[in-house]
Structures are given as structure tokens and as C-alpha cells.
């Protein structure tokens, strides 16, 4: 029997005003019945486009080439009507990244679950309802009978994703495509959803394509892995083999860019340069401009496909030629060495209550976002504040920044109450770095204006000094000065985050408050930014409060950790102590839920021993 799914030489082009964007080029992927394939890649690698091509969900103007064969049927020969009658839902189903927007808010859960099954699946109303109830129960939604008559806004994000999964499984598809199914969810929920998908797959004998940027998720959840870069599948093979002995330099670099929880924190392997333009695909290897082992042949011609069906890659390097991976240098011998005990920001008994009213005369509604938290950031240390969405960590960060005054409690900066500080004095002490580099820079200002703005506001320097300091700050974050007059829209996400860091550091503050500084970035860019922050901190003696949900990031950067749950601090201690032996049950759960990357092959483990 042939493979369930055979994608051959798939290419997808999107016409843009600037030319044809080659989103996918010559991608070939095969999938057996019941097999789980992970497609990994950074943003813009073409992984989602591949899935959309499979589901016929590409934008209308997209140009598609190559062939997709599903269970012996060439899908290219089918009309749209035949495809949706015979395949969509019945045999191929898909779940999307954003559970908040993939359900229609004006219809009940029950209607959305059963509609497709009744109209296309030949189910009667009653049978569809019965199946929906059974599935809701299976995906772990309590009280399914009541849920059927509820609307999407009455469910949490995790529950909505469960409903989406149930909906995809209504007609028992043979192939389930999950496009970043857990990226928008909290860590603990993410783990539950992934386990649920794995369980369902085994029970129903379903094949699955899991599209994600998270290598750890792929390593845990799939049999085979396809690594995509610049629209091409550059490495493909059995998950264990690819993760343990990556053969393509890109995969190697990507793996070394992931912060790991085992061993002491090490310098992350950052890939130089940025993702290539897919408007004018290169003649040679797509990774050549950023490859550490690049040769003349790489640029001149397409690299050969080496290896066998168990593990293949698009690279000129043979097994013998491939350099061995050198262990990276640890960045700190000891987490708490040489730190002073002077508090830079000292928050005591902070409580923040939000009051809202429905309409002008409606009843008052109060939420205690932060409840009696005391937190001290000491000079020179990195304190990680960990918690899931809704735990109050971002509210606490705003208060520690002095941007908001708490309902009760005090914040002192270098011994002075923040309420007594003038805005400019406060600005000289502490600066923020935000999560989303796309909204943290004013789109109508050039980089020079953005970075110089804090100096202009302070008004103590003349124009020439401001220009010099701006250039120094650009250099500090390794941004080329030719970008000085660019607008943020001309930069990539990582470059924007560098600009945000330069703006925060241009006035030389004592402390930084970083709110999820890397969670909007790709793995390789996250590595660049985390390395940069670590270096700058050592160089400038900064104190950092890092807010994050990612335990690996905590392990990478933090000296001390504070864990928040429901507005309260449930655990606080040194990084080693908390991560190795958490005393609180919630911290333990967070740690257990974080997808971790554990290579099984001994050769690699030695380097991290």
C-alpha cells in the first residue's frame, strides 16, 4: 500500500506588488497512515503555506505547482466541489493556531460542531449530536450537554481549542493538520492539548501533520520531522535522528539556539544575518548566505539531496565533512556570584484592584490583579517573574516600572518612593522592553528619532551629543548605522527588538523591566536577543526584571525566580533552587509542562553533561 499523503515538488507563489513571492519551492513530503509528521521552521519558512495548499485554503491569486496525492488520488485533478465533498472534514481536517477567533461568536458550540456533520457527513441531527457529546467528553470538556448550548465566549482559550479539535474529529478524518495548535495557549494548557492530540491519534489511527516553530514540541510529539527554511524542506527524517544528529547546518544552528534546561546556561548559538528574501530565490543553496560552512559550490548550484529516506537533507556536506558540534561556553559559573545586596526597585505589599462598571449605572465589578506582592530587584541581578496569562505579572511589571501606582503598597527606587519621583528621574532609573516589537516602536518615526527620543525628552544634551549617543546605542545593540534613517516597517522582528533595547539603554538606566522580551520572536532571533541582553547586562551592570512564561528562558538568564499565580507570589528563590527542587506544587506543574528538548543519543548528551 502506498503512502497516505505524498507531496511532490510543491511550489507556492504569491503575487505581491514587489514581484512573485516564492513561499514554497520544491517541497516534497511523504506521510504514512497513522504517522505523525512535524513540520518545523521559523516564520516565513513556508510551513503554513504548505498546509494551506493541502487544504486548498491558499489566497485566490496564489500560483501553485507540483502534485499532492492523497491515498492514491491526485488532488490536483479534483474540482473544488469534489474536494470539499470527498475530502474536507471526511478525510483531511485542520485545526488552527488561534482558538479565540476560529469559532464563530454568534453560533452555539453545538451548532458549530454538528453543522458540517449533518450537511456533508450524512449524519442525522440526533446522531451528530450524540457524536459531538462523545467527542466533547473525550477531549476533556466537563459537562458536555450544557456546553452544546453555550457560545464560544463562555469558554476559555484551552477549552475552545479542545472544541476545535472535537470539531475536526467529527467525521473521523484520516489526516489531521494542526497549525501551531498550542502557540496561543499557556504552558500547562499546551501540554494537556498536545497529550490529548497524541492520545486521539493513537486511538483513531489518524495521521497528523503538526506545524510548529517549537522544536521541543516536535521532538516530543512526532515520528518524522521536516525542517523548512526559505520555502524549502532542507532536512527530513525520523524525529530522533534529526534531533539528535542534525545534518543540515541550519538545523544544527537552530538546535543550538534553543535555551536548554540541562546543565549551566550557555552562550546560545545565534545564526548571523536575517531570513532571506523569497522574492528572488537564489540559484544555489537558500541557506548559503548565513551558513558557517559555505563554499563556492553552494552559491553556484542547487545543493544535492543527500542521505536516505530515513534521514535526508539538502546540503553539499557529506557525513564525514560535517564538523562536529563544539559545546558552547557556559556564560556564568555561578548564578549568584558577585551580586550586591542593594535593592534597585523595592516593591512592598503591592495590591492592585481594578474596578469596572457595566454601563454608566451598572453594578461595580472588582478584580484583584495583584494581591499583596512584595518583590525586590537587587543591583546587578536578573530576576525572572514567571506566571501564566492572567496571573497579574504584567500588571505588577507596570507598577514596578512606575507607570502605574498600586491601589495599596509602595514601590521604592533606590530608596525613594516612586510617587515622589519626577517622570524624568524615574526614566533615568528604569526602562521597559516590551513583548511585541511591532507595537513598541512608533511607525511614523525613523530609528534615529526613536532611539534619541528619551534624550530629547530629558533635554540635557545638545544635538551633536544626542547624535553621538544614538550611534553608540545602535552599536551597542549591533545595529548597522545605515539603518539610522529607516522606519521600523523596514526592519525584521529581531532588528526591531534591538531598536527597543537601544532606546531603553540610551539614557543608561540602572534597571530594565523586560515583559516577555522574546516570546514574539523566532528561536534563532530569540537566541540573538537573549545573548545580547546577557552581554549588555554584564557590560553595563544592569539589573533586570524579566517577565516570562518560558522556563527555558528563565534558566538561561535568571539569577532568582519569582512565580506568580492568581495575583499572588507563590514561590521565590534562586534560579537553581526553584528549577531543581520547586517547593510549590504549581511551580512543579509549570516545570513539568514546559516542553523540553532531550536528545536521546549519547554523543550529544556528553557535550552537555
Amino acid at each position: 500500500m502506498g503512502k497516505l499523503l505524498e507531496i511532490k515538488d510543491l511550489s507556492v507563489g504569491l503575487p505581491l506588488p514587489a514581484g512573485l513571492l516564492h513561499a514554497v519551492r520544491g517541497a516534497s513530503i511523504g506521510l504514512d497512515r497513522g504517522e505523525a509528521l512535524g513540520i518545523v521552521g521559523e516564520s516565513g519558512s513556508g510551513k503554513s503555506m504548505t498546509a494551506l495548499a493541502l487544504m486548498r485554503l491558499l489566497p485566490q491569486r496564489a500560483v501553485q505547482g507540483g502534485s499532492i496525492t492523497f491515498d492514491g488520488v491526485d488532488l490536483g485533478t479534483l474540482s473544488d466541489a469534489q474536494f470539499s465533498q470527498g475530502f474536507l472534514g471526511h478525510r483531511i481536517a485542520m485545526i488552527f493556531q488561534e482558538p479565540m477567533t476560529s469559532l464563530n461568536p454568534v453560533y452555539t458550540i453545538g451548532r458549530q460542531l454538528t453543522e458540517g456533520a449533518v450537511r456533508y457527513g450524512g449524519y442525522s441531527e440526533a446522531a451528530a449530536r450524540k457524536r459531538a457529546l462523545a467527542l466533547l467528553d473525550r477531549v476533556g470538556i466537563p459537562d458536555p450537554v450544557a456546553r452544546l448550548s453555550q457560545y464560544p465566549h463562555q469558554l476559555s482559550g484551552g477549552q475552545r481549542q479542545r472544541v476545535m479539535i472535537a470539531m475536526a474529529l467529527m467525521l473521523e478524518p484520516e489526516l489531521l493538520i494542526a497549525d501551531e495548535p498550542t502557540t496561543a495557549l499557556d504552558v500547562t494548557v499546551q501540554a494537556q492539548i498536545l497529550d490529548l492530540l497524541a492520545g486521539l491519534r493513537r486511538e483513531m489511527g489518524m495521521a497528523m501533520i503538526l506545524i510548529t516553530h517549537d522544536l521541543a514540541v516536535v521532538a516530543e510529539q512526532s515520528d518524522r520531522v521536516a525542517v523548512m527554511y526559505g520555502g524549502e524542506v532542507i532536512e527530513e527524517g525520523e524525529a530522533q535522528a534529526v534531533m539528535a544528529e542534525p545534518a543540515h547546518p541550519y538545523t544544527q544552528a537552530l538546535l543550538s539556539a534553543i535555551p536548554r534546561m540541562d546543565g549551566p546556561p550557555r552562550q546560545l548559538g545565534a545564526i548571523p544575518g536575517t531570513v532571506p528574501s523569497l522574492l528572488s530565490p537564489p540559484k544555489g543553496c537558500v541557506f548559503a548566505p548565513r551558513c558557517a560552512y559555505v563554499r563556492a559550490e553552494c552559491v553556484a548550484a542547487r545543493p544535492p539531496l543527500l542521505g536516505d529516506s530515513a534521514h535526508s537533507r539538502l546540503c553539499i556536506l557529506t557525513d564525514a565533512e560535517r564538523p562536529a558540534r563544539a559545546p558552547a561556553a557556559p556564560i556564568r559559573a555561578d548564578h549568584v556570584m558577585g551580586k550586591q545586596d542593594v535593592p534597585v526597585i523595592d516593591g512592598r505589599d503591592i495590591t492592585q484592584v481594578f474596578t469596572s462598571r457595566k454601563g454608566m449605572f451598572g453594578p461595580k465589578h472588582t478584580i484583584r490583579a495583584v494581591d499583596g506582592v512584595s518583590l525586590t530587584l537587587k543591583r546587578g541581578e536578573t530576576l525572572a517573574l514567571v506566571g501564566e496569562s492572567g496571573s497579574g505579572k504584567s500588571t505588577l511589571a507596570r507598577i514596578m516600572l512606575g507607570l502605574a501606582l498600586p491601589t495599596s503598597g509602595t514601590v521604592e527606587m533606590l530608596g525613594r518612593p516612586v510617587a515622589d519621583l519626577l517622570p524624568l528621574e524615574r526614566a533615568a532609573l528604569v526602562q521597559p522592553i516590551f513583548q511585541d516589537p511591532y507595537s513598541s516602536l512608533n511607525p511614523r518615526r525613523t530609528l534615529a528619532e526613536i532611539i534619541a527620543r528619551p534624550l530629547t525628552l530629558r533635554g540635557t544634551d545638545d544635538t551633536a551629543t544626542i547624535a553621538t549617543k544614538t550611534r553608540e546605542a545602535m552599536e551597542m545593540v549591533r545595529l548597522p548605522s545605515r539603518l539610522l534613517h529607516s522606519y521600523p516597517s523596514q526592519l525584521s522582528g529581531g532588528q526591531r527588538q534591538r531598536v527597543a533595547i537601544a532606546r531603553a539603554l540610551v539614557t543608561r538606566p540602572q534597571a530594565l523591566v523586560c515583559d516577555e522580551p522574546t516570546s514574539a520572536l523566532d528561536v534563532s532571533v530569540q537566541a540573538q536577543i537573549l545573548n545580547l541582553l546577557t552581554e549588555l547586562q554584564a557590560e553595563l551592570g544592569l539589573s533586570c526584571l524579566v517577565i516570562t512564561h518560558d522556563m527555558a528562558v528563565v534558566h538561561q538568564v535568571a539569577d532568582r525566580v519569582a512565580v506568580m499565580l492568581g495575583g499572588r507570589l507563590v514561590e521565590e528563590g534562586t534560579c537553581d533552587a526553584v528549577l531543581r527542587s520547586p517547593s510549590n506544587e504549581y511551580t512543579a506543574r509549570l516545570l513539568a509542562a514546559a516542553p523540553q528538548f532531550r536528545p536521546e543519543v549519547s554523543g550529544v548528551q556528553e557535550t552537555f553533561a
Partner: protein, 302 residues
């Protein structure tokens, strides 16, 4: 997204990138709509400024012997009065040329008055929220509930017609679009991180509004400005047509249409010519506005 990657990757290190000014000029020259629109507006503005030099006749001199002469393309027309004459024997072309002055100054003036009121209220309401927002929203609802033209007529009637009064009244009655759009945009902008970053750098609300928020509102404001420019010109025409706008003998396109309407069926050019002029001016303003929005947005969208 991919376009931005293209920029950062493709630009060779040694090449000097184009300055924002150069880029803007290039976008402007490639934008057909903008070129046509600004061509119309510049031409009309020049006509308005140099009206005394261009006009072949004095627009106020009446000549009862040559009333309602047809334009030159009519068999009965003459080259002396290119576009004929009106009911009082005044040269129609000269009156149209002088009428440009009235229409353009009322359009610009009223749209500016509305802009000042609407944008100020919109930004303040959107930025501060709370009771300020409630108060402004109440003013908006009140304004929307009033019949505009009727109110304008009443006000002009009470205060007394003059070009300044007409500009003022039309402006004061046309700020709602500015308010609605800038308020919503400000509410969105003020929650973005770059506003928080500015606040964290010690910026006062005033500095945040001027430096961070207003520049981001410019594309929307330009579009509404050109839209309101057209509306204001038409409002003036309506008021003049109804007899409470510009007073005769000042030449205004609206007034000319009003005066020509009795003879509309057998001397159609009396209505068609000022109507066409109005149409051209409004279209020109809108084309230029859309173009300006496209070329000033550094995001380069569209």
C-alpha cells in the same frame, strides 16, 4: 513582512539607502491619482490667485444688451464671451474664474475649522477616556442629532451673510467625521507599547499626543480633510443656492447655479458649467487626498 525582509536582506551593505524624502518623491511620481488630483488643485489654485490677470472681462459689469449669450461653440456664440453671459449680461467665464476664489477659500477654511475642532476633541477624548470621553461623545451625539443645513441657514440668517461667517459656520458644523475617526484611532494607539515606552521615558501626556499619537493620525486626517473640503464646497453651494450663503453680486459657483436655474431648460450651460467646475474641484481634492495618504505613509502600504 516579507517585503521588509526583502529590504533588509537585499540592500547591499555599501549602497546608500534612499532618504525618506527621495522615497516619498518616488512614490508621489508613481501615483497617477495623486498626480491628476494635485494637478487639478494646483491649476485651480493658480486660477484663483491670478483671477484678475486671467479673467477676460470684469465679472461685475452688467450689459443688458448682451444677456444670456450662448458659449462660443453654439452657432449664436461669439469669441468675445467664450462661455457666454448670464441673465445680467456678465461674462460667464470671468465669473467662473472669480468663483474659484470663493469655493477654494471656503473649502479650505471650513475644512480647517472643522479639523481643529474635531481632531482636538477626538484626540483628547480618545487619550484621556473616562468622563472627558463621555462629555465629548455627548457633544457628538448632540451635533449628529441636529439638521446641519437647516442650522447653517438659521445661523447665517441670524449672524448675517459674509464669506467669513459662511466659512465659520460650515466649519463649526463639520467636525464630526474628524472626531469619530481620530477618537477611535487614538484609543487604539494609546494602548500600544510605544506610548508606554514614551511615558516610561518621562514624556508628559502633551508630549505623547504631539510626538507619538498625532503623526500616526496624519493619513486619516488628510483623507477626512479632503473629503470635508468637498463637503464644505458643496455646503457653500447649497447655502448660496438657497440664498443665505454668498450674497450677489459676488460670484460663487453655488450662487451661479441658483441664478441659472430659472433658465436651466433652454440655457443649460448656466447650470452645467458651474456644476462641472464644482465637480472637478471636489474630485481633484479627493484624488489628491487619497494620494497624499498613500505616499506619506512610511509603511508603504497599498
Amino acid at each position: 513582512m516579507t517585503q521588509t525582509d526583502a529590504f533588509t536582506f537585499d540592500a547591499p551593505e555599501e549602497a546608500e539607502p534612499m532618504s525618506p524624502g527621495q522615497l516619498m518623491r518616488r512614490r508621489a511620481l508613481n501615483h497617477t491619482g495623486f498626480l491628476i488630483g494635485s494637478g487639478i488643485i494646483v491649476t485651480l489654485a493658480l486660477i484663483a490667485i491670478f483671477a484678475p490677470l486671467i479673467a477676460p472681462h470684469d465679472p461685475f459689469v452688467q450689459s443688458l444688451s448682451s444677456r444670456m449669450l450662448p458659449p462660443v461653440w453654439d452657432p449664436a456664440g461669439s469669441w468675445d464671451h467664450l462661455l457666454g453671459t448670464d441673465q445680467n449680461g456678465r461674462d460667464y467665464l470671468s465669473r467662473l474664474i472669480y468663483g474659484t476664489r470663493v469655493s477654494i477659500s471656503i473649502g479650505l477654511g471650513a475644512a480647517t475649522v472643522g479639523l481643529l475642532i474635531g481632531v482636538t476633541l477626538g484626540v483628547v477624548a480618545g487619550y484621556f477616556g473616562g468622563w472627558v470621553d463621555h462629555a465629548v461623545s455627548f457633544a457628538l451625539t448632540a451635533q449628529l442629532a441636529l439638521p446641519g443645513l437647516l442650522l447653517a441657514m438659521a445661523l447665517v440668517f441670524i449672524i448675517g451673510p459674509s464669506i467669513w461667517v459662511v466659512i465659520g459656520i460650515i466649519g463649526v458644523l463639520h467636525w464630526t467625521y474628524y472626531l469619530v475617526v481620530t477618537r477611535a484611532a487614538t484609543q487604539r494607539l494609546r494602548n500600544l507599547d510605544f506610548v508606554a515606552a514614551a511615558t516610561a521615558s518621562g514624556a508628559t501626556p502633551r508630549q505623547v499626543i504631539w510626538h507619538e499619537i498625532l503623526p500616526n493620525l496624519i493619513p486619516q486626517i488628510i483623507v477626512i480633510f479632503t473629503f470635508e473640503l468637498g463637503i464644505a464646497i458643496l455646503a457653500e453651494a447649497s447655502l448660496s443656492f438657497l440664498g443665505v450663503g454668498i450674497q450677489p453680486p459676488t460670484p460663487s459657483w453655488g450662487l451661479m447655479i441658483a441664478e441659472g436655474k430659472q433658465a436651466m431648460f433652454y440655457r443649460p450651460w448656466l447650470v452645467v458649467l458651474p456644476g462641472l467646475s464644482l465637480f472637478t474641484l471636489v474630485i481633484g481634492a479627493n484624488l489628491m487626498g487619497d494620494g497624499l495618504r498613500d505616499i506619506t505613509a512610511p509603511e508603504g502600504r497599498n
